[in-house]
């Protein structure tokens, strides 16, 4: 087991800095080219939320496997932990976006002077003070739990005392429960309220499933990146197979929730609900259907065979497609309501700003990977993961 410590080479950090620079440049260029502040703000929301959610899912994957007493995941545990270090960064960026005027640009319900009768009914929940209080609560919970889980995981590895394992389980359980609640309510706050006249009880879980599939895809991508750089030799085809199964399963689960929400609203045909999809069919129809192809058809058909899930040949491209696909999914959740059919599009601002965020995310993740050995040798289930092969 060599290469236990990740080294952030100058080459790697330079690449991430270049990506961040691209993001900042396109941001500036878009502003000066008159792209429209609401479109810029919507893009910033999209990317901040996307990578925040991916970070949360990274931690969620670690937490769930910890409380399920899974053994095999210990080999890849550090990746999930590293992803979670982006959460405070995203929190800061989101806060800056909101307070610098983004809140008013994106959300109709913040225009207190002209609220129609429907929005007036929701004022008890959709008002700025309560919004910010919830914002703080979410991030306090997420950041502190991410911190404690990471701390106990590192201590378990350094000191080896099983009491840290016990604490790890407790914090993981608390995180899973709180994330179940906060991911739903934060999706309502930041995403669903963009179309504040509309509502769907499945929305929170739908967004969560989308991020779950994407977070898994990102974990896979980072894993293959690390392997390419010569690390994570102990991760064999069996571990990769399990991750591939997750990507397959979560993509199908997302499609199931997508279909449930869509079909039920289509079937009942109630105008105040169907208006949501009418907007998307009218101005965003290509993205609407491409969304399904990238997020369901590609992983479903691509990852059906056993071998496709066991190596990088098919799994890596599929993971990349799913990552892009769920970005598109988030796009059609945000843009129709925040920007509208005429002004929205997929152009330089969208691509450039996303590259910037991806660069920032990778930088934070890679830096975090240097802070702990890649192999949690003292984890009580690690030996199971190291000698891992199964019958199926």
């Amino acid at each position: 087991m060599e290469n236990q410590t990740f080294i952030l080479t100058k080459k790697l950090s330079t690449i991430t800095f270049v990506m961040i620079a691209i993001g900042l440049l396109t941001l500036g260029a878009s502003y000066f080219a008159g792209v429209g502040l609401d479109r810029i703000a919507a893009n910033l929301l999209l990317n901040t939320y996307y990578f925040l959610a991916i970070g949360l899912i990274g931690l969620f994957i670690v937490a769930v496997h910890t409380i399920a007493e899974s053994g095999w995941h210990t080999s890849i545990q550090r990746i999930g932990e590293a992803m979670s270090t982006f959460i405070p960064v995203a929190g800061l960026l989101l806060f800056l976006l909101f307070v610098s005027g983004g809140l008013h640009l994106i959300y109709d319900w913040t225009h207190k002077d002209h609220l129609d009768e429907i929005l007036l009914k929701k004022v008890a929940y959709l008002n700025e003070p309560f919004f910010y209080i919830r914002f703080l609560v979410y991030f306090i919970i997420w950041i502190s739990l991410a911190y404690f889980i990471r701390k106990n995981s590192k201590q378990l590895d350094q000191i080896g005392d099983l009491k840290y394992f016990r604490k790890l389980r407790i914090f993981s359980a608390i995180f899973v429960v709180t994330l179940a609640l906060t991911s739903v309510t934060s999706a309502w706050d930041w995403l669903m309220s963009i179309d504040a006249h509309w509502f769907s009880t499945l929305y929170g879980w739908y967004v969560f499933s989308s991020m779950l599939a994407s977070g898994t895809a990102v974990l896979i991508i980072i894993l293959f990146m690390l392997k390419q750089m010569g690390y994570m030799d102990h991760v064999n085809h069996e571990h990769i197979h399990d991750l591939g199964k997750y990507l397959f399963g979560f993509s199908i689960f997302w499609a199931y929730l997508w279909f449930s929400q869509y079909m039920l609203i289509w079937y009942a045909n109630i105008p105040e609900e169907t208006i949501y999809f009418y907007e998307r069919h009218k101005h965003f129809s290509t993205i609407f259907y491409v969304n399904l192809i990238l997020n369901f058809l590609v992983p479903f058909l691509g990852l059906m065979t056993r071998n496709s899930k066991r190596g990088s040949l098919i799994l890596l491209p599929v993971a990349l497609i799913v990552f892009i696909g769920h970005w598109l999914d988030l796009y059609q959740l945000i843009m129709p309501g925040a920007v509208g059919g005429e002004k929205a599009g997929i152009g330089l601002p969208e691509i450039g700003i996303t590259i910037g965020y991806a660069g920032l995310f990778l930088f934070v993740v890679f830096r975090s990977l240097t802070k702990a050995p890649l192999v949690p040798k003292n984890h009580p289930f690690f030996k199971e993961s190291f000698e891992y092969h199964t019958q199926y």
Partner: protein, 456 residues
Amino acid sequence: MYTSPLREPLIRGNKNYKQVTDDILAPMAGTPSKYWYIGISIAGLGLLFGAWSTYITVFYGIGEWGTNKTVGWAWDITNFVWWVGIGHAGTFISAILLLFRQKWRTSINRSAEAMTLIAVMCAGFFPLIHMGRLLLGFFIFPYPNTRLLWVNFNSPLLWDVFAISTYFLVSLIFWYVGLIPDLGTVRDRAKTKIRKAIYGFLSFGWTGSARHWSRHETVSLILAGLAAPLVLSVHTIVSFDFATSVIPGWHTTIFPPYFVSGAVFSGFAMVLTLMIISRKALNLEDYITVNHIESMNKIIILTGSIVGIAYLTEFFMAWYSGVEFETYAFFNRAFGPYAWAYWIMMTCNVITPQLFWFKKIRRSVLLTFIISIFVNIGMWFERFVIVVTSLHRDYLPSSWTMYRPTIVEVGLYVGTFGLFFTLFLLFIRVFPVIAIAEVKSVLKSSGEKTKTTGHE
């Protein structure tokens, strides 16, 4: 493959393979105990009550029930959904836990899957009988007919026909394919010629050939991969019966995953109820250990919490939507004439599963038994609340009315309990209740003497 010593053993008593066979085949040998006879007699009485109720319903009509113009569905559909939901645990254990490589499923999957088949039969009875003209029940299937019409493929009620039929058939073959090797074991141990012939017939000539095992494993894995989305789809389609409508309290997008979680929740509770009794009565405590019970309780916390979050979400959206009919529907549930049903549901479904966060309660067989019964009571009331309170007061106040079950409806429900326990008690005598081959395959890694198997 290495197993960490931190893991609790799944098979106690330092068993070897022969003991495993002996222990599991023991309940099928000899004459049944007196408790078995008492059990099947009580179940038989229930069946009789059900038979009488069926006779009354068929010969005197649906008017013998309490359903009326506004509340068109009540106990009939509540019971249907309740039984289908219970059935989901079996497939969950057989299929989804197989895909997640949870070795503890091996002692309970055979019985749980049998329970599923019986529960689906009990469930299917209700849509059939609530049609009124029972003898024309075959109309629900699409076949070329002289009336020159087809069934309405766009109706969720028809999707149900396909879903329940597929679910029953696929569960049946999944259960049976797993059973074949064990039936070979029973055949080879049979002492009388008749038993040998019967089990020889049922075991399809199984020999244990490695080639056969190889294909068997592949098919089991693919069946699990098919059964997993199937089990999600069945209760999803059942939820579509309600969610595709426009009734407040029924039309809500969260129903599919919420119903599925609720189904797994109640199903595991029923599996626990049955397994806690069976393990004691059939001396299988070494195989269905406290660790198994604890694992099942963890799933109960998980699914119960998901159901709880769904309740909160629905409640919140009822207000947030600003739709006064939606808001009233939920206000009425909590404070209207059926509030007693609502609060039973909330107590049983939201509070009781949370008790399993405490390890002492999770590992207590007695408390688990009690809680499992409460969970099933709660889930029955959940379906009752969804079906009846949403119907009895919807958009038009002039149509508001109350509903009360009649003795006939109660009899039908009791009858299904009779059917359920009769068939389950027969199952115990005729088939091995634990998957013998599967338990043996995890004996080395998870038995009391943990030993590393050789490297490949």
